[in-house]
């Protein structure tokens, strides 16, 4: 391999980017065996990075004021110098698009390419969550379709009308994802093509569901059961339910709900694999940059620059530190990947006991690739957080009971605490932590058309009343009739609280 420097100094050119990419590819694919989508690297300005930031990182998205709000927020923070911009944004698409900022130095570009174009890219292509839920080759076309569709709706039905609908849909977006796969994996491009067929199907279904012509008592009873079956209750995907069955929505409104829902679904795996995804990308860039330095392709100076950024990214303040704001996914992810590599290479007795499958297998990349493919954050931590790492991080478990005068240290990083700590940390990444577990359970089909939802309550975590009222209002706007939300204790099934909302006529 060439031992010539890829670049000198801070400046880069398109040629440099190409060289960097090729050199990174030699290490990433050739030596580490990463399996990636083809790469597309796009050079953008800081302002464009802000744009991308505020539209959830996507290159094109429909228009809505909330993205403008986000832009204003980021811009404020950025202008005030409180926070630098991310050096990169990477899009789970095929080809995989990585944005790099023109302001970055050559070293940073190398880091970004190693991190995003190879680390994240490999993760997107191979992790089961992404494979199951996202359609990398369809997403950009789908976003373009969504943008045009919503723009057309604005033209036809007025900006305000569409804005109101999007407000409501956004409020329910966290309840607009399927958490467990249904029979058929979705392909966004298919969805788009079959849109019309589906809509006709809904209209047939809709007629049947809401028929108001009276029928005989016997028949009614039977048909209500039938209708209930058609509704497929209970349904955890509230937006899906509304899209299919809300009686008052226009076809275009159903399509807008569908767009919001599918985009929410597309991002869903990212929320569940933050630690793993960043861990994977950080581990890859660390290996690649070290190797490039070893091979003499980057200078000592730029290697130091890299180490500086890298250490910043994986900084984890302790809980006593005023700057502590939770566990840094980069830090936890990177440390766990390094720890797994250590266990595979040089296991201790303890490691052999805890991780008999992987301890001493010698090929850390093979093990890591299996891990990256088959876990998400909660299962990953539950499986691979080692006692060694818990000691290194000096983890401890605090219990804060509402009535207790003091906080209690439940467990610390010792023999008795490992299992508890690992379970506890994994639980923080469980699906239920991201969004409350809310399901549509019933509709009063014969009478008022009242929609009934349940919130399953764990350890007394009720819903925030103010927000719940606002979201319910949005829900009634979409449903068109009364909505009852009951908060039900997950263990005793006791109704703890009920919220009722009526649409204002």
């Amino acid at each position: 391999m060439s031992d010539a420097l890829l670049f000198t100094g801070k400046d880069w050119s398109f040629e440099t980017l190409q060289h960097i990419h090729d050199a990174v590819e030699v290490v990433g694919k050739g030596e580490l065996g990463l399996d990636t989508f083809p790469n597309q690297i796009e050079v953008i300005t800081a302002e464009q990075m802000l744009d991308a930031y505020s539209s959830t990182g996507m290159p094109l998205l429909y228009r809505h004021w909330s993205f403008g709000k986000r832009f204003a927020q980021y811009e404020g923070v950025y202008r005030a110098g409180l926070q630098g911009l991310a050096y990169e944004i990477v899009i789970n698409a095929n080809p995989c698009i990585s944005y790099v900022m023109e302001e970055n130095s050559a070293t940073m570009q190398a880091l970004v390419i190693a991190h995003a174009a190879f680390g994240h890219n490999h993760f997107f292509k191979n992790n089961y969550q992404f494979r199951q839920w996202t359609d990398a080759s369809g997403i950009l076309d789908y976003l373009a379709y969504a943008k045009n569709y919503i723009a057309a709706c604005e033209e036809r039905y007025g900006e305000l009308e569409v804005e109101r609908l999007l407000d409501s849909a956004h409020a329910l977006a966290p309840q607009g994802v399927d958490r467990y796969p249904r029979k058929r994996p979705i392909s966004l491009s298919d969805e788009e093509r079959r849109d019309r067929d589906r809509r006709e199907e809904h209209e047939r279904l809709y007629d049947d569901l809401w028929r108001t012509v009276p029928r005989g008592a016997e028949k009614t009873k039977k048909s209500i059961d039938h209708q209930r079956a058609l509704l497929r209750l209970p349904q955890e995907n509230v937006l899906y339910f509304l899209e299919k069955t809300a009686p008052r929505l226009q076809p275009w409104q159903r399509e807008v709900l569908r767009i919001v829902r599918l985009i929410a679904q597309y991002f869903y795996p990212q929320q569940q694999t933050k630690v793993m995804n960043e861990g994977c990308a950080t581990y890859c860039h660390y290996r690649i940059m070290n190797r490039l330095h070893e091979k003499g392709q980057i200078s000592d100076g730029s290697f130091l620059e890299f180490i500086h950024s890298h250490s910043n990214a994986i900084r984890q303040p302790t809980a006593h530190d005023p700057s502590y704001s939770g566990v840094n996914p980069y830090a936890l992810g990177f440390d766990m990947m390094c720890d797994i590599a250590r266990i595979v290479r040089e296991p201790t007795e303890e490691d052999r006991l805890w991780f008999p499958e992987i301890a001493g297998r010698k090929d850390e990349m093979a093990v890591l690739k299996e891990v990256w493919a088959n876990y998400r954050d909660d299962s990953f931590i539950a499986q691979f957080l080692s006692p060694h790492l818990m000691r290194k991080w000096r983890l401890f478990h605090i219990v804060d009971e509402e009535d207790a005068p003091k906080l209690k240290v439940e467990k610390i990083h010792n023999e008795r605490g490992y299992h508890d700590l690992r379970r506890g940390l994994a639980a923080e990444y469980e699906v239920g932590r991201h969004a409350p577990d809310i399901q549509v359970v019933d509709v009063d089909l014969a009478g008022s058309r009242k929609l009934v939802l349940h919130h399953r309550v764990f350890s007394g975590k009720l819903l925030d009343v103010v927000d719940a009222a606002l979201v319910l209002r949005h829900l009634t706007l979409l449903w068109g009739y009364d909505v009852l939300l009951e908060e039900v204790d997950a263990t005793t099934n006791e109704v703890l609280k009920a919220h009722l909302a009526s649409p204002d006529q």
């Binding site: 398109f14 190409q18 990419h21 590819e25 790469n39 690297i41 796009e42 050079v43 953008i44 302002e47 464009q48 744009d51 505020s54 539209s55 228009r63 809505h64 004021w65 909330s66 993205f67 403008g68 832009f71 204003a72 927020q73 811009e75 404020g76 202008r79 900006e159 956004h170 984890q316 303040p317 809980a319 006593h320 502590y324 704001s325 939770g326 566990v327 000096r394 401890f396 478990h397 605090i398 804060d400 009971e401 509402e402 906080l407 209690k408 240290v409 439940e410 610390i412 010792n414 969004a435 409350p436 764990f458 350890s459 007394g460 975590k461 009720l462 819903l463 925030d464 103010v466 927000d467």
Partner: protein, 430 residues
Amino acid sequence: MRIVDRRLNPGGKSFSNRQRFLRRVRDTVERAVREASRERAIEDLENAQEVTVPADGAREPMFRHTRGERRDYILPGNREYIEGDLIDRPTGEGGGGGSEPGRGNGQEDAFRFVLTREEFLSIFLDDLELPDFAKRGLVDAQKLGSRRAGYSTSGTPANLALGRTMRMSLARRIAMGRPPRATVEQLEEEIAGAKESDSLDVMDERLRAVRARRMRIPFLDPVDLRYRHFERFPKPVAQAVMFCLMDVSGSMTEHMKDLAKRFFMLLHVFLTRRYERVEIVFIRHTDEAQEVDEETFFRSTETGGTIVSSALAEMDRIITDRFDPANWNIYGAQASDGDNMMSDNQRTRELLQDKILPLCQYFAYLEVANSHEGSPLSYVGGSSLWNAYAPLATSERNFQMRRVSRREHIYPVFRELFQRREGARAEPAT
């Protein structure tokens, strides 16, 4: 691998989202803009403004959990605790061990953002309009210009675009298959050089056909003609001059000058938005008037008697000298504490009524008072100048007068003076 340079793509993709957001939080932003115009130094008025939008201004509700009865935290960096230790709850948000680990009940905080100058001014001046009793509408003050706008199929011969026409002609000739002159010449030569025995008839026939085709498909056809097209567009020539008249006699305190300055500044911002070119003339006066620069106008204090008419006379002179009322929209704003020599009041009023007002689009008189003098509503007595002007406020369409004693009243008064009116004239607040 592909590298794409997106830097040349139009930026500001968020522009439209930003506009929507501003519309959404309009009330808040308007309030903030009013605050800004009250609190900030006048020089900064046109610069970008920071605005704080409270959380509720643009709330995005979502179902979220409350804290619940029991909370479990797994935290890094244990120092000395062992199992079963009881520790004090940390005081204050986010400090110390065992604090809220930065997730969970994520109430949005208010946040600050910066309005661009354009955004600021458009909100600042929203609803403000030139008074509709202005004697010359803006529409009349526009001329039509003309500029190139592509080609058209009709026009005058002088505008014939020869190159373009020939190009069209050539394209048509090629498309229709018009035989070139060379073909004809070649045929003629062949015929001339041909012997009797050759098939002369056939060649003649071909020559005739070629010539006929050339006749049928002319070299230049009316459909080829293209003319340079010119488009008329309104060319604004609107220009305005603003006269700032201020009493700088010893009785004008710094506070009063500050009030006056704020008012003039608003007027200036307003006029620069409406006209391409705005000139400002500063005239200060004691018992005699003088045109000065801005610095002198606002900073220096003189002593002496007060003869307001001198300023109006000076304004009249300058208009005659430099600003032809046929071409200029003329505005006047006068600030004074209202203290005038009794003997001058009569002359001042006549000067304003007979000379100045007929030339002006609009003339505003702002009486400034010290802040302890209360609100404009409680003002009853009236200064000598006020009383002199008062009849004009009802009789003249383009004259308004207000009294201001506090900074925060400047903006409302300004709005009152310049707000969009439905034809009817508002009664002056006396």
